[in-house]
C-alpha cells in the first residue's frame, strides 16, 4: 500500500506492506535509526516518536495508521544547528549512558514540556514511566528534563551564564 506522511517536517511517500510497523518504517524504509526497538510487548519505550505532537510507541502503531499524519523523531529535535533544550539537558545532567533509551526519553520529555513547561519531579517520573532505562536509574533523566524546563533557551542559556560568571 501507499503511505504519505510528514516526518521531521519533510513529506515522505512510500509503498509498503500493510502490516509494516511504524518503527520499522522509520528505521528500515526511511533510514532514521535514532528510533530504537527493544521489546515485543509495548513495554520498553525505546521506540517512542511523536505523532501529531503526542508521544506514541512506534512499535505499536502501523505505518498505515500514520498515513496523512506528522511524525517527529529524535533526528528532528535539533533545528538549524541548535540543540533542543531537552537535548542540552541530557548532556548537562548526564541523562544518558548507552544512549539506547535516550531518543524515546527525549521525545517524551519534549512533549511533556510543551504541555507542561514547569513539571514537578513526580510529573516527570510519571511522564517517562512507560519507558525503561537500564543504565541511568532515572534520577539524572529527571534532572535533565528539569534542566530543560529551567532553560527554555537551551545551550544559549549556558553560554549566557558563562559570560556572566
Amino acid at each position: 500500500m501507499h503511505v504519505t506522511m510528514s516526518v521531521n517536517g519533510e513529506d515522505v511517500a512510500k509503498d509498503i506492506e500493510p502490516r509494516t510497523l511504524l518503527v520499522h518504517f522509520i528505521r528500515d524504509d526511511l533510514g532514521l535509526t535514532g528510533t530504537h526497538w527493544g521489546c515485543d510487548t509495548s513495554n520498553c519505550g525505546t521506540c517512542v516518536v511523536s505523532l501529531d505532537g503526542t508521544p506514541v510507541k512506534s512499535c505499536t502503531v502501523l505505518a498505515a495508521m500514520a498515513d496523512g499524519h506528522a511524525v517527529r523523531t529524535v533526528e528532528g529535535l535539533e533545528t538549524a544547528g541548535t540543540l533542543d533544550p531537552i537535548q542540552q539537558g541530557f548532556i548537562e545532567e548526564h541523562g544518558l549512558q548507552c544512549g539506547f533509551c535516550t531518543p524515546g526519553m527525549l521525545i517524551t520529555g519534549r512533549e511533556l514540556l510543551d504541555r507542561n513547561p514547569h513539571p514537578t519531579e513526580l510529573e516527570i517520573r510519571e511522564a517517562i514511566s512507560g519507558q525503561i532505562c537500564r543504565c541511568t536509574g532515572y534520577a539524572t533523566i529527571v534532572r535533565a528534563i528539569q534542566w530543560a524546563a529551567d532553560h527554555p533557551a537551551g545551550a544559549a542559556a549556558v553560554e549566557q551564564e558563562t559570560v556572566q560568571s
Partner: protein
C-alpha cells in the same frame, strides 16, 4: 600517586551544577573531574550506530526457530515448505552444521553447547533452525512453516532435585555421563571452620536464595556477518563486550584464520554481562553469510533475549554463622547449589568455576571460613555469570550481608554496630580473606561512619521506634560490601586460555593531538571520555584533543574486554602507563631541545621544564612537533611520540561501599516502597565523578529490580515464565527514589592511578540493603528472612508466617 582534585569525603545528592563549568572554563584543570561526555553529542541526536543500525548492500535477514518445550528428542525436522516461501534464501538445521563441525561450539567453561539442536532440545527457547530471507518479516513468517516432530521427555526444572538418582540425564551427548552433576568447588578451611563452629557461643543458620534474573539490556543481542568468499575475509558486527576475545574464539571455532576476521563492536545499548558470551545466533549469521554469499543480519527479539541468552545467579545458599555472645564474628560457612542450565556456559576465569564467590567472607575478620559450591545441569537456558555480578561477587556479597543481619537479629544487636565491631581495620591491609583473595586497601569504619552520618542513622532508628509504636512497618537496611574487580593477573586468570590482560596504544600526532587505542569496549560507561581524561591527567593534553578508539579489532590492541568492572582497573592502568611511557620519551626529546640532560628536567602537567628555571620549558605539543621534525633526536629515540603497553594487573582492586535503604511496607497489601537509598562508595581515585554517580545510580536500580521485582521463573514443565517485559518486571522511574550518594577515597596501592572499578558496585551492594530493610520492617512480626523478589504477594506471605523460597 596523582591526587584527585576533590575532597576525600563527600556527598553528591541532588544537582551539583546548573551546567558543566569544566567544559566552559578555559582554565579548568586538565584531567580528572566532572566533565561532560564525548559520546553524548551523537546519542542525543539519534546518531549512535548500534548493530541493528548496520545496513550492508544486499543484506539478508536471519531468524531462529526455537524449541517450544524444555526437554525433547528431535524425531524429524521438515524445512521444505519454509524453503518454498517467497523471499526465503536458505534454511539451516543442525544436520547442515554437522559437516562444518559447527553444530556444537565450546562454551566459556570448557563445555560445549549446541548451535542448532541435532539430537535433543534441552531448554525452552533453544535454537533449532535458522531461516535466511530477504527481509525480517519474510524470515519470521517462514519459521511458522518449519515442522519439527518432538518426542517430549521429562525435564529437570527444580535444581534441588537435579542430582536425584532418578533424575533424567540432560547431557547424554557427553560420553559416559550418567547424572546432572557439573562440578564441586571449595575455598577456605573446612576443618578449621568446623572447629570454630563447635566452640562458638552462638550459631545461626539461614537458607538464602538468589533467584535467576536476567541482565536484559535495552538493546538485544545480534550480529551482521559479511563473508567475502574471494578474499576469505569475514567482517562481523556484533553486540560484543569483548571484541578481541570473540574474534579469537570465532577463529578457533569457525576455522576462518584470525587475521581474516575483522570484528566490529559498534555502539552497544547496554551489556551488563549479557554480551560476553558467543551465542548461536552469531555463528548462524556467519554460516548464513558463507552459505548465501550475502551479508546476513540476525537480531534477536526480547523474548529470545530473556529466554535464551545469559541469565544470572540461580544460587541456593545454605549459610551458617558463628559468633561470640557479644558479637565477635568467628566463622562463616556457605554451602551452595548452583543452577547452570543445560550447557555449562558460565563466563569466568578458568580456575574460578564459582566466579569470585571467594569474596563471601565480606568486609570482616573471621577465625575461619569455608565455602562450597556444587553446580548442576537443568533444562533451562545456559549462563549464570552476568548482570553486573563481578563474577558472582553479587551472590557472595548478598550472602554475607544477609547472614550478618541474621546474626544481629539473633543477638538483638544493632546491625551497624555489629559491622563496626568486626570490620577489617585499615592497618590490616593487604588482607588475606582466608578464602584465597588478598584485599588491597580499605577504610571500612570511616566509610561506614560517613554513611551513617549522611543518612542520619540514629534519627532513622528513632523514627522507626515511633512508627512501630503506631503499628507501621518501616525498615532500615544496611549492606557493606567488598568487591574484587579487574581480572587478571594473567597467570591466575584466563578465559579459554586467553590471559586476562589488556593493551593500550597512544600516539601523539605532530600537532599535539592524540589518539589512544584500547582493547575494552564501552556499553555506556563513557570510555571515550574517561580514558581521554586519564591521558589528559598524565600528559596535560586537554581531553577534547584526545580521541579514544575502541570496539574494532583492526584498530585496537588485543585485550580481554569489558565485564567484571575490569575496564578502569586493567585497561585504565594500561592507558596511564602508556601515557607515562610517552612522557618519558618526551623528556628525552625535551632535554635535547633545551640542550640539557633529561635528569635535569621536571614535569609539570603538560610540559617538561628545567629544574629551578620554570621558564625554560617545552610543552608536550612542542615536543610532539619536534619528535616528528628535523631536529636531531637523542640516542635511542627513533622519532614519533608513540608507545604501546600491555598491562597485567598484579591483583584485583577492591572497591567497597556502605549502603543504607529505608523502606515502608503497606500492612494491607505487602507492597514495599523504597523511600530512601544512600550509597557511599569508595572506588579509590575518582576519574569523573559525574560518570561514577551515573554508574552507581544504574546499579542501585538493578538492585531495586532484583530485590523487589525481577525473576525468571519456570513452571514444572520447564516453561519460562519470564519471557517478556510483561512478565519480567524492570523498575521504571516510579519504583525508584531519588538516589543519595556519597564517597570516600581510598586509592588502590597497586593501580597506577589508584583507581578501582565502579561499574558493578551498586548492583553487587544494593540488593542486600533492600532485603535487609524489608526484613527489618517485618521483624516485629517475627520474620527473620525472606527471599527475593519481595513482591507484594511474597511479602504478604512472610507477614502471615510462611515465607517460601522462590525456587
Amino acid at each position: 600517586m596523582t591526587l584527585v582534585e576533590e575532597p576525600l569525603v563527600g556527598a553528591e545528592h541532588g544537582r551539583l551544577h546548573d551546567h558543566n563549568p569544566a567544559a566552559a572554563d578555559a582554565d579548568r584543570p586538565i584531567g580528572f573531574g566532572r566533565l561532560q561526555r564525548k559520546e553524548d553529542p551523537r546519542f542525543i541526536r539519534g546518531q549512535g550506530r548500534y548493530t541493528d543500525d548496520v545496513v550492508l548492500p544486499g543484506m539478508l535477514h536471519g531468524a531462529i526457530l526455537r524449541a517450544p518445550v524444555a526437554h525433547a528428542r528431535i524425531v524429524s525436522i521438515d524445512t521444505s515448505e519454509a524453503l518454498s516461501r517467497p523471499g526465503v534464501r536458505a534454511v539451516l538445521t543442525g544436520k547442515d552444521l554437522e559437516p562444518l563441525k559447527l553444530a556444537w561450539i565450546p562454551t566459556l567453561s570448557y563445555d560445549v553447547q549446541a548451535v542448532l539442536a541435532t539430537d535433543k532440545v534441552r531448554f525452552q527457547g533453544q535454537e533449532v533452525a535458522f531461516v535466511i530471507a530477504d527481509d525480517r518479516y519474510a524470515a519470521r513468517d517462514a519459521l511458522e512453516s518449519i515442522v519439527v516432530d518432538y518426542d517430549v521427555l521429562p525435564p529437570v526444572v527444580d535444581l534441588r532435585h537435579a542430582l536425584d538418582a532418578d533424575a533424567p540425564v540432560i547431557r547424554d551427548d557427553i560420553e559416559g555421563r550418567a547424572d546432572n552433576h557439573i562440578a564441586d568447588w571449595e575455598c577456605g578451611d573446612e576443618a578449621a571452620t568446623r572447629a570454630v563452629f563447635a566452640a562458638a557461643d552462638v550459631v545461626v543458620a539461614q537458607e538464602i536464595v538468589y533467584p535467576r534474573v536476567h541482565p536484559a539490556p535495552m538493546e538485544t543481542c545480534g550480529a551482521v556477518a559479511d563473508f567475502n568468499a574471494v578474499s576469505g575475509e569475514l567482517t562481523l558486527y556484533e553486540t560484543s563486550q569483548a571484541p578481541h576475545a570473540h574474534r579469537t574464539i570465532i577463529a578457533m571455532v569457525s576455522g576462518i584464520p584470525e587475521h581474516k576476521i575483522h570484528l566490529i563492536s559498534p555502539d552497544i545499548g547496554g551489556g551488563f554481562g549479557n554480551k560476553v558470551g558467543i551465542y548461536p545466533g552469531y555463528v548462524l549469521a556467519i554460516v548464513g553469510s558463507i552459505v548465501t554469499g550475502h551479508p546476513v543480519k540476525w537480531m534477536e527479539d526480547r523474548s529470545e533475549n530473556l529466554m535464551s541468552t545469559s541469565f544470572a545467579r540461580d544460587y541456593i545458599m545454605q549459610g551458617e554463622i558463628a559468633a561470640t555472645k557479644d558479637g565477635r564474628l568467628l566463622g562463616i560457612r556457605a554451602n551452595v547449589l548452583a543452577d547452570h542450565g543445560a550447557f555449562n556456559g558460565t563466563a569466568q576465569p578458568t580456575k574460578y568455576p564459582a566466579g569470585f564467590f571467594n569474596l563471601f567472607p565480606g568486609s570482616y575478620t573471621w577465625d575461619a571460613v569455608y565455602g562450597k559450591v556444587t553446580s548442576v545441569y537443568t533444562n533451562k537456558a545456559p549462563g549464570g555469570v552476568a548482570y553486573a555480578c563481578s563474577f558472582r561477587v553479587t551472590e557472595a556479597s548478598y550472602f554475607v550481608e544477609r547472614m550478618i543481619d541474621r546474626l544481629a537479629l539473633e543477638l538483638k544487636m544493632d546491625p551497624a554496630e555489629l559491622r563496626l565491631k568486626n570490620f577489617i581495620r585499615p592497618e590490616q591491609f593487604p588482607y588475606d580473606n582466608k578464602a584465597g583473595f588478598e584485599y588491597d586497601s580499605g577504610q571500612y569504619e570511616k566509610t561506614m561512619r560517613h554513611a551513617m552520618g549522611l543518612i542520619g542513622y540514629d534519627q532513622l532508628r528513632q523514627e522507626q521506634v515511633e512508627k512501630r509504636a503506631r503499628g507501621e512497618l518501616m525498615g532500615i537496611g544496611i549492606s557493606f560490601f567488598t568487591e574484587g574487580v579487574g581480572a587478571g593477573p594473567r597467570k591466575h586468570m584466563d578465559i579459554l586460555g586467553l590471559g586476562m590482560a589488556d593493551g593500550a596504544e597512544l600516539r601523539i600526532h605532530p600537532t599535539g593531538k592524540a589518539v589512544v587505542r584500547i582493547s575494552v569496549q564501552s556499553q555506556g560507561q563513557a570510555h571515550e571520555t574517561t580514558f581521554a581524561q586519564i591521558v589528559a591527567e598524565e600528559i596535560g593534553i586537554p581531553p577534547e584533543d584526545i580521541e579514544v578508539v575502541h570496539g574494532d579489532t583492526d584498530r585496537t590492541p588485543f585485550g580481554l574486554g569489558t565485564y567484571g568492572s575490569r575496564s578502569t582497573p586493567v585497561s585504565g592502568a594500561a592507558v596511564a602507563l602508556v601515557t607515562r611511557k610517552v612522557r618519558d620519551k618526551a623528556r628525552l626529546i625535551a632535554a635535547a631541545m633545551l640542550e640539557t640532560r633529561p635528569e635535569d628536567l621536571e614535569w609539570a602537567k603538560g610540559r617538561w621544564f628545567v629544574k629551578g628555571d620554570p621558564t625554560a620549558s617545552r610543552t608536550i605539543q612542542e615536543i610532539a612537533m619536534a619528535a616528528h621534525g628535523t631536529m636531531e633526536l637523542p640516542d635511542g629515540v627513533d622519532g614519533n611520540l608513540d608507545a604501546e603497553v600491555t598491562y597485567d594487573p598484579p591483583n584485583l582492586t577492591y572497591p567497597y561501599g556502605a549502603y543504607f535503604c529505608v523502606t515502608d511496607i503497606d500492612r494491607g497489601t505487602g507492597k514495599v516502597t523504597v523511600r530512601r537509598f544512600l550509597a557511599v562508595d569508595d572506588c579509590g581515585t575518582r576519574i569523573n565523578p559525574m560518570v561514577i554517580e551515573g554508574q552507581v545510580h544504574g546499579g542501585l536500580t538493578d538492585g531495586v529490580g532484583m530485590a523487589l521485582m525481577e525473576i525468571i521463573e519456570f513452571d514444572p514443565e520447564g516453561n519460562n515464565l519470564g519471557g517478556s517485559f510483561m512478565d519480567y518486571l524492570i523498575p521504571t522511574a516510579m519504583e525508584v527514589p531519588d538516589w543519595e550518594t556519597g564517597f570516600t577515597v581510598t586509592p588502590s596501592p597497586h593501580h597506577p592511578i589508584g583507581a578501582k572499578g565502579i561499574g558493578e558496585s551498586a548492583t553487587v551492594g544494593s540488593p542486600a540493603a533492600i532485603v535487609n530493610s524489608v526484613i527489618d520492617a517485618l521483624s516485629p512480626l517475627g520474620v527473620t528472612g525472606i527471599d527475593m523478589p519481595c513482591t507484594p504477594g511474597r511479602v504478604w506471605d512472610a507477614m502471615q508466617g510462611h515465607a517460601t523460597p522462590p525456587i
